[in-house]
């Protein structure tokens, strides 16, 4: 069996996080993803240093695995013509420019559409409607969508997540959109335009709370490391470290009390009672755990079948054997190898792609132009002479 998306060509005009994550998952699944980058600097995330690994930033490495890079200046006519030729040779186009940018280059859907083309815009607030011109940023959407109001500790300021999770979710929904459209095309021959806007995705993921607000006006507060739906839940200090506990059932709560010698009050018997009396319950649990060692708590709670785990910072988490086995080095064509973050999905029936780390800017220009468009070395040189591939030529 071949890779699921073997033979699918993706012309990838995306930058930063959401779009590149979408196209990386397509690349992981076997698509030939060609990343079209500005010759000066390329994707913004290339500059997210320090630190760097032989000139490649962590952010660039983690969203651009298994892609090839071509440097094209879309401000130059020959650059636009070459980009258009790549689109005409592609099965899928993905872009996440501000509204109007692809149109300015003559590369928007209406300009390039054909019946079998799949074109995905990872826009900010949609390519239509009153907000189409507004720029999109993860922290702004975390704020506007209500997500940020839920993150952080009570009586402290709301927090955005360290990783831009609205960007991440948008990359995942964009990837779903393209895969669904490919499936539809497989069955019908029909391509289409689709979009997975940043704001729409950020808001949609609040569904478990926004549905409740629409039902009865309840506005949830932020709860730190506690949970809106289950109690007790959180990160608790022990004598020598932290432990995370999530009690999911009444039976588990009874077992927790027994394991820790915690005197349970009658109103704590049900989850609803524990939620209503959360503050007193959490305080009692915290003081029961404080004098104990992390290890004795883990042993006692695991024996009792209460869901728990050491709460770790990145260094301890990555030293864990299970984690370390997933945090591999993968080959890189120019620097031997580079550190990789694992793909979160495993397909057991189709082969996994032999991974290749993210490329240097413009590394594959001539290869791509030869393979996708049949251009000779002379034709590539002629394009290069126009400045469309950058003033000083390609880095490789």
């Amino acid at each position: 069996m071949s890779l699921p998306l073997a033979g699918i060509r993706v012309a990838d005009f995306t930058r930063v996080i959401a779009g590149p994550l979408a196209s990386m998952h397509l690349a992981d699944l076997g698509a030939d993803v060609v990343k079209i980058e500005h010759p000066v600097g390329g994707d913004d995330t290339r500059g997210y240093t320090p630190p760097d690994y032989h000139g490649l930033s962590g952010a660039f490495l983690c969203y651009n695995r298994n892609k090839r890079s071509i440097a094209l200046d879309l401000g130059v006519e020959e650059g636009r013509k070459t980009a258009r030729a790549l689109i005409d040779a592609a099965d899928v186009v993905i872009e996440n420019f501000s509204t109007g940018v692809m149109a300015k280059f003559g590369l928007d859907y209406d300009s390039v559409k054909r019946p079998d083309l799949i074109y995905c815009s990872t826009s900010a607030y949609g390519r239509t409607g009153p907000f189409l011109k507004r720029l999109g940023y993860d922290p702004v959407v975390q704020a506007e969508s209500g997500f940020m109001s839920l993150t952080g500790h009570p009586h402290q300021e709301p927090l955005r997540t360290a990783i831009p999770m609205v960007d991440v979710s948008t990359g995942l929904t964009g990837g779903i959109g393209v895969l669904a459209a490919l499936f539809h095309r497989k069955r019908t021959g029909q391509g289409q335009f689709l979009e997975a806007p940043l704001f729409d995705t950020g808001f949609a993921q609040t569904g478990i709370h926004s549905t409740g607000y629409m039902l009865d006006g309840t506005v949830p507060e932020r709860l730190g490391n506690a949970d809106h739906f289950q109690a007790p839940a959180g990160r608790y200090g022990c004598e020598d470290g932290e432990i995370a506990i999530t009690v999911e059932t009444d039976a588990q709560f009874a077992d927790l009390c027994q394991a820790l010698g915690l005197a349970a009050q009658a109103e704590w018997a049900t989850n609803r009672g524990r939620i209503e009396n959360r503050v007193a319950l959490e305080a009692a649990l915290a003081s029961a755990l404080q004098p104990l060692s992390q290890l004795e708590v883990l042993v006692a709670l695991q024996a009792a079948g209460v869901p728990c785990h050491e709460a770790r910072a990145i260094p301890e988490a990555f030293a864990d054997r299970t984690a370390a086995a997933l945090l591999d080095m993968i080959p890189h064509p120019d620097i031997g190898e580079a550190p990789n973050m694992p793909s979160p999905m495993v397909l057991h029936g189709t082969p996994a792609r032999d991974p290749v780390a993210a490329p240097f800017l413009g590394r594959h220009g001539p290869d791509v132009l030869a393979e996708w468009l049949g251009y000779s070395a002379e034709q590539v040189a002629a394009i290069r002479a126009t400045g469309a591939m950058g003033a000083s030529g390609e880095t490789a």
Binding site: L5, P51, G58, L61, C62, Y63, G126, P130, P139, V140, A143, G146, M148, L150, T151, Q156, L159, R160, T161, A162, I163, M165, V168, S169, L172, I176, A181, F183, H184, Q192, F193, L194, E195, P197, F199, A204, T206, G207, H209, G212, M214, L215, T218, N225, F229, Q230, R235, A244, T246, R272, P307, H309, E310, A311, I314, A317, T322, P339, M341, M345
Partner: protein, 381 residues
């Protein structure tokens, strides 16, 4: 117009968040999702907070729209046989129990794929590194993900939404779609897995990768950044707002068109980004003194007009009632067999040719048991 997953039958053995969120998206794309529940139902039905008169929670509505529900007691051998009959006819089976538990029930990938070689077996693996089972928050804790967000001087804070499970759901949908795509040519399904721990680890992204490159443990920066200022949370007269000024261009726009304090451009303390980082506290206090004189909308409108990234920090209620949600048509109602109609948050993907399905409300427990029993001739088995 047809839907993308028209004719695809999904047998959904999951509960909680990740599995149901994944199968809900498959349902939005047109699949017929049959939710198999124990007699006590998916525990999310009982979650506290807003609920319908029939007892089902808002969270359950938000994770199970349009599905059909059949009650099956997997403790009974006959009932397990019925599930196998369904699996033999399904295109996708979704599970979220640990593999050994599923094997004991005869519902592991091997057993079900022997009955149906076209089956896509979609698995959320809930195991923590030590082999025990945990949901979102425990994976945040075990992977280090949950320690990355928070104020520099305070304790870490996990994401306010179950982001490890919600992203795992989306990844699982991708894997299922890839497997269905491959099946069009090969005629064969396959098992696909998204491990919650593996997903949490992957989601540390550049925090994790930068640590591996530099050996320096990542610090918590709250809403700020060690590399740029001013940015983060500010207080306007009527509520908090978020503003991100990274770089000289937006800083000048901010000073000229929003703060209208041209003297700041000449002020040595604020002359460069690195000086602003150095004098962050003075500068943030100045901005707060200014922002608190006007309501949030005043400043946010000015930011949008000037192209400065920023927005109101809304409560969930303010977000639902916002012009963006209304104009983008992101919420609506769906018919529900007990409540008449219920609110829904719509799927965010917009397809030009194959719109996502208009939702039905989440099913009552066992609402479709008789219907599905007849449709798949389960009584005969």
């Amino acid at each position: 117009m047809s839907m993308i997953l028209d004719g695809i039958v999904v047998l959904d053995l999951t509960s909680g968040v990740a599995g149901p969120a994944a199968t809900q998206t498959l349902s939005d794309l047109g699949a017929d999702v049959i939710k198999v529940e124990p007699p006590s139902g998916d525990p999310v039905r009982q979650w506290p907070g807003p609920r319908l008169a029939c007892g089902d929670s808002a969270a359950f509505l938000a994770l199970n729209r349009t599905k059909r529900s059949i009650v099956v007691d997997l403790a009974e051998a006959e009932a397990r046989a019925a599930v196998q009959v369904l699996a033999a006819k399904a295109d996708v089976v979704a599970v979220d129990s640990p593999p050994d538990a599923l094997a004991e029930l005869g519902l592991d990938a091997g057993a079900l794929r022997r009955l149906n070689k076209r089956l896509v077996y979609a698995e959320i693996d809930p195991r923590l590194p030590d082999g025990s089972v945990g949901r979102d928050a425990l994976h945040q804790a075990a992977s280090g993900w949950g320690g990355m967000s928070g104020l520099p001087e305070g304790p870490p804070a996990k994401a306010g939404l179950p982001m490890i499970e919600l992203t795992a759901a989306n990844v699982l949908v991708q894997a299922v779609l890839a497997a269905l795509y491959a099946r069009e040519d090969s005629g064969e399904g396959q098992a696909v897995t998204v491990g919650l721990f593996r997903n949490a680890l992957a989601m540390t992204y550049f925090y994790g990768l930068n640590y591996r490159i530099s050996g320096n443990a990542p610090a918590r920066h709250g809403n700020g950044s060690p590399a740029a200022a001013p940015l983060g949370v500010f207080q306007a007269a009527d509520g908090p707002l978020q503003m991100t000024l990274a770089g000289e261009r937006v800083w000048r726009k901010f000073v000229d068109s929003i703060a209208k304090r041209p003297e700041w451009l000449a002020d040595q303390r604020f002359a460069t980004n690195s000086n602003r980082v150095l004098n962050k506290e003075v500068l943030m206090a100045e901005i707060d003194r200014m922002f608190v004189t006007q309501p949030r909308d005043h400043w946010v409108d000015a930011m949008r007009a000037a192209g400065v990234p920023g927005g109101p920090i809304r409560t969930i209620g303010e977000a639902v009632d916002s012009p963006e949600v209304r104009q983008r048509d992101l919420v609506g109602t769906a018919p529900h067999s007990a409540a008449g109609e219920v609110p829904v948050v719509k799927n965010p993907i917009r397809f030009a040719e194959t719109p996502v399905r208009a939702a039905r409300g989440a099913p009552l427990l066992g609402e479709h048991t008789a219907e599905i029993t007849a449709e798949f001739s389960l009584a005969a088995h």
